[in-house]
């Protein structure tokens, strides 16, 4: 039983990362109705920026907001420069653009910083939270930061005018435009915010998985699984889904022998397929009904 509780808590901690990633995925999906396959690489690139600043001796708590701000600007710029011109292009063109972004960020990071694995220090310190605790200091800190960011986001969407405009622009662009919402600016904001949240996820998970150009692919996959599980139309669902994916991953890794280290990624595949089969709208998602 001890092992079980321990694993659930540990899963909760990694789930926080997946929740961040899933949230970033859902936010871009809400804004442009495409899944951004380059999301993970964008987050990885931001994390490298953070590592570089740390290596230059900047204090951790200054690096955090700075990197998020840079990522926000970067996301906005990508939306303006690369994505906007093909707004009305077919889905496949968008997917190819995402693949191109993926290649660019991956190769640029490898070129600038090299492919060797880099350890990233944790701002919360090493070791267990207290002697004999099931989770480490870093994981606890990670969880707290994730929770704070998620509640801030929730408040932003729930209570501010801009948040309302963003929701309106995503749910019904035409009507939103008619009442004076600048829909395209909202899409850009969505990209920027998603990119900043991705940067946060990257910075938080880097001390756990180590920094290298390919670190994000599997995390993105879990993020997708979380987003699908919670429902692609619901930010809260994405967060919940992310946590569930983290816990399921940890429990399956502990109790099902072969899956242990070898098949962890397959859990995401099975989760995605299973959720889509049983409840395609996800846990909290809206069912889209099409009029014929």
């Amino acid at each position: 039983m001890d092992l079980f509780i321990h694993q659930v808590i540990a899963g909760f901690a990694t789930g926080g990362i997946y929740a961040c990633m899933a949230l970033a995925v859902v936010m871009i999906y809400q804004a442009i109705h495409h899944l951004n396959f380059a999301q993970g690489e964008m987050a990885m690139f931001s994390t490298y920026l953070g590592w570089q600043l740390l290596a230059w001796g900047a204090p951790y708590w200054a690096v955090f907001p700075l990197v998020m701000a840079i990522s926000f600007a970067g996301g906005l710029a990508i939306e303006r420069i690369v994505v906007r011109p093909i707004e009305n292009a077919p889905v496949l063109s968008h997917v190819v653009i995402f693949i191109a972004l993926f290649a660019i960020f991956n190769s640029a990071a490898g070129f600038i910083w090299g492919f060797t694995i880099k350890p990233v220090p944790s701002p919360f310190g090493e070791g267990a939270l207290y002697p004999g605790a099931p989770i480490g200091k870093h994981q606890a800190g990670m969880l707290v930061v994730t929770m704070i960011v998620l509640s801030l986001l929730w408040a932003f969407f729930r209570f501010t005018r801009v948040g309302l405009s963003m929701r309106a622009a995503s749910v019904n662009p035409e009507s939103a435009r008619l009442v004076g919402v600048r829909v395209s600016l909202m899409n850009g904001l969505g990209w920027g915010m998603a990119s900043a949240i991705g940067a946060l996820a990257g910075l938080l998970i880097a001390p756990v998985v180590f920094l290298e150009p390919n670190m994000m692919l599997s995390i993105l996959l879990y993020g997708f699984a979380g987003a699908v599980l919670g429902g692609l139309s619901s930010p809260l669902g994405a967060v919940l889904g992310g946590f569930i994916v983290g816990i399921v991953e940890n429990l399956a890794g502990t109790y099902i022998p072969v899956i242990g280290g070898e098949l962890k990624l397959s859990i995401a595949l099975f989760l995605i397929v299973a959720v889509l089969l049983v409840k395609p709208a996800g846990l909290l998602g809206r069912r889209t009904v099409q009029r014929v």
Binding site: I86, P90, L92, A100, S107, L221, L263, L265
Partner: protein, 341 residues
Amino acid sequence: MSTSEGKMSDLGSSAPWPAGAAARPKVGARTIFFGLLLLVAVTLPFISKNFFIFQTTVVMVYAIAILGLNLLIGVNGQFSLGHGAFYALGAYTAAILMETFGLHYAWTLPIAAALCFVAGFLFGLPALRLEGVYLALATFALAVTTPQLLKLSPFEGFTGGVQGIVITKPGAPFGLPLNSDQWLYFLTLAIGLLLYWLVHNIVHSRTGRAFMAIRDNPIAASSMGVNTSLYKATAFGVSAMITGVAGSLGAIVIQFVAPDSFTFALSVQLLVGLVIGGVGWLPGALIGAVFVVFIPNVAEEISKGLAGACYGVLLILVIYLAPQGADGVIRAAVDRFKRLL
């Protein structure tokens, strides 16, 4: 070469897919053009170096794989980011049958085809309930998981684990005066033409019209009596089968399979080739294959360290300048040429 013979498929335009104007039958010029191309394809292995023959064979292998993907995405309108998995299945089937069971390589192709058809059909069944983005996600997960599944330790005896399997290169049969590169070239060319003919006929048959009807308007299709689920799963199966055969050929030609050759990047390459060639236009597969095989080298020429970034920038440029791929470019060129006349 392999997929260059035949007419343009006359796919109608549809909302989410690039529009393809109806083909204008101008059989004379086109037949001559493709006849010449075939002539070049047949003489090529006798006038060029072995390495170039090998590269061309690899291009044809990719073209076959992209052809399979085109049947699914371009003709049936189902999205797949995971066709690398079926390519891997075909490759491993050929490798294991040849090296572990000592089967003749010619027999591995139909077995791989059958296996991939079944696998594709079965994956297509749950995929029936998924559309657009969700299908992209499920197949993305499949692509990312593939290398891990191939490395699985219980099957290491067959798959060779991380090391993979080395395959002995088959020579030309019946005492033909060809070296093995030339023989594999002709084998791939023949199988490619056969599969092209197959896909071409499917597209122009009742089944093909059902596929396209499902792509353009699933509700209208099913109200006209098309069994949507059966046709969608079948399209997935046939598409996986063709890509799987390409995988087997690829394994035999490259003489090596390992889990890390079948990563997400492979599925991406196939998709990129499809978009570059033109979605829904069957001969485009060959142009797309040339792009995915040679453009990474060009990118590497531009900058060694930043090859991936150059590739990405080239991709973005292609999407901006030729959003409908080679298909659109060729159509525009032909139209302009006609106006000049």
